[in-house]
Symmetry: C2
Subunit: 434 residues, 2 copies
């Protein structure tokens, strides 16, 4: 008779416990009965493991996949096992049974299961690595984003999502009952990140933003997670673009390192290097689109088709389907956008990546008088924004920044057809649960 371990260990740390009694806990992810022997594949947050038991000893437990169990066992090396280790079961105890009639199990090929059902049973889908890994990659993306910026003198900020007015003029705002007043959900931390540049010089924020988007396409959400960056003392939008190149290059290199097999399960190749992503002027893009794709219909913005076409051109020229487009028409951009020259272009850019815009950024106006003028030109009354404008008196450096949509970038990185697949609990025009 073997002594029992009393402290639960993770599957990943089994190599430190060879030939010792161990206590494991997890889910039964597969069961194979081969005559007198039953193989129980156990899964916990650190990995999977094959346990070996006498079929007879398990009979009365009526184990099934997804049951929550505790395994007392003895660890031994086994060349035949994937991890090189197996555990001989001394005892299995059921901690909680899963229900009958689940619509799928964690081992089901989820391609055959509809999105609605997957969302209703989100946690069960997460237990399947094909879905769980999407969010592990997303968490890593967040981690590397913060790591790079922290190492480059950026301070993380947390700003309010309840605001008294919108930053971009009041369309598509969700309205809130705030005691006896009306408030809105923030569409972006734009004002706050610009303001805090005057305090910290370099700031970032990761947080939710809200758009009451009346359409529910494969690329729109009403609530999404924005990775915001803003910094001072720039010479022009090229500095902002360069920082984003370096940031994404860092993130992608780290993802390639840590999640190589996950990435290759979703996409044809590793993530590209980003340091050499080109920057094309908007006007130049229109010409290329005309020349290569006979597009004569575009005037002051790109459409989704044009984004895909430009990515295709970038791919041909550089090997990576990524390009910064700089110099959109100023009139179509928010009032705080700095002009680019005097021809009506804006110092603002989009990053198109693998067919879709994943970032908008640019240089902002940093002088109060210019901001006021830009507001008036758009019919906005500066006095209504006094609490924001006064910050431009306290010593505001020339500055710029960008915002990356976490879900869109995750969807591109993992080649997901719909941005909803990159949100644990998506919200759109029609979806408010789970």
């Amino acid at each position: 008779m073997h002594e029992k371990a009393s402290q639960r260990i993770f599957i990943r740390s089994l190599p430190e416990h060879i030939l010792k009694p161990v206590l494991l806990r997890g889910w039964i992810s597969r069961l194979r009965v081969l005559g007198k022997t039953t193989f129980v594949i156990l899964k916990d947050c650190s990995g999977e493991l094959q346990c070996v038991a006498a079929s007879e000893a398990l009979r009365e437990l009526h184990l099934k996949t997804e049951d929550v169990v505790e395994v007392h066992g003895l660890t031994r090396r086994d060349e035949r096992a994937k991890s090189g280790i197996e555990v001989d079961v001394l005892e299995i105890r059921i901690l909680n049974r899963c229900g009958h009639n689940l619509p799928f199990t964690a081992a089901t090929d989820l391609e055959s299961i509809g999105q609605e059902v997957q969302l209703e049973y989100r946690p069960l889908a997460l237990r399947n690595n094909s879905i769980g890994d999407i969010f592990r990659v997303q968490a890593a993306l967040l981690r590397f984003f913060r790591e790079f910026l922290t190492a480059h003198h950026f301070t993380e900020i947390v700003t309010s999502k309840i605001v008294s007015s919108g930053t971009e003029g009041g369309t598509n705002l969700f309205q809130l009952k705030y005691f006896d007043r009306v408030a809105y959900l923030a569409q972006s931390p734009q004002f706050y990140k610009e303001q805090t540049v005057a305090g910290f010089e370099r700031v970032f924020e990761t947080g939710h933003v809200y758009r009451a988007e009346p359409h529910a396409t494969s690329r729109h959400l009403t609530e999404y997670y924005s990775l915001d960056v803003e910094f001072g003392f720039i010479d022009g939008p090229e500095d902002v673009i360069q920082l984003e190149r370096e940031l994404l290059d860092f993130i992608f290199a780290r993802l390639n390192e840590s999640y190589a097999s996950v990435l290759l399960a979703h996409r044809a190749a590793a993530l590209p290097r980003m340091l050499d992503v080109p920057c094309w002027e908007f006007a130049e893009c229109l010409e290329m689109l005309k020349e290569h794709f006979q597009r004569t219909d575009l005037v002051d913005d790109l459409d989704p088709e044009a984004e895909r076409q430009l990515c295709r051109l970038a791919q041909e020229k550089t090997g990576a389907a990524a390009v910064f487009v700089l110099g959109f028409p100023l009139a179509a951009r928010p009032f705080y956008t700095a002009p680019r020259g005097s021809s009506g272009a804006a110092s603002s850019f989009d990053l198109l990546f693998e067919g879709i815009e994943v970032t908008t950024g640019g240089q902002r106006l940093h002088r109060r008088d210019e901001l006021e003028e830009a507001m008036r030109a758009r019919g906005i009354e500066p006095a209504n924004f006094e609490s924001h404008l006064r910050i431009f008196d306290v010593g505001m450096p020339p500055h710029g920044g960008f915002a990356i949509g976490l879900e869109r970038l995750t969807a591109r990185i993992l080649n997901l057809a719909n941005v909803r697949q990159a949100v644990l609990y998506p919200r759109d025009r029609y979806r408010l649960t789970p």
Copy 2:
């Protein structure tokens, strides 16, 4: 004549540029004119530096503190300077002037400036290290929180803050117009973090939560930032408490290491070790409060005064003003709380730290039938929570977790009188701007 540097460098990297021409950018944080020589203290996101210029050469610039400037200079070692380095000015260029009549400057002693004015000019206050450091410590706290959990197999999750109903029965919810429906702002990610335990086993989230608190005390906010942790396969609430001990011990040790001088500017001693923080039963606490403070008025909860008194007792006994209180009356806790024994106590705890509750946590019910029973006992109709309850069918391990209020913990760590001092842009019953 010296050649000019063309690439801006940070003040912190000056030691790599001794006797070389440098280009610096930042704010003028102080100006001292001593006859023919003027000392310009320059500040950027990496530090401060003394620059030396001929008074005559600066005359026409009319420099003042908070102006945004660019300095071309030559770096040399100087024993008399704090950093051991000074820069001789070749040229100063003004990038943006600050306004006249600012209510304070970054060098003002902010003790003399009212909270309202400081909030109206938040970024200027941030440029003063006495305020800026609060948020640098807060950002570090967030970083160390995520770092510890990531190293312990936790996956970061991002969950929706727009929900169709409250987790705790519908009081103090902010109501939202969601297209043609009504929705609410999430009071906590409780349901989502419990659900995702069934997928990832161990999860954390850092994000906003909302309470329509009708009172505006020094400890209440309507929007705060919650550090949420939840994990499976626990034996009881003691496992949750132990994880929080280890987490806070890690965070505090790292803060002591990286922010020693900031901490000592705000508090009498470094942050305490947290591994030995005691855990007292609620019933035991009531007896101690009676014995030591003649408190006979407490029945089913602690009040702020009792929290302070228990911290005082903990301080006397252990040297640290921190104690976990476990086993609050079950009736006063939310329906998902697991019982502790059969005497009406809950497997839930608070962490009291330096006079105030900074955490609530505990073990949760993990069986669907028990959850339904607990809901009915509180007059909640289980059918209304079907989308949550069904997740308890998919293989839900015994689990628990806790939530730390970021602002409250920051306020305790830095000994701030009001939790608003630990929020960049606070929201309360009356405050909706800036």
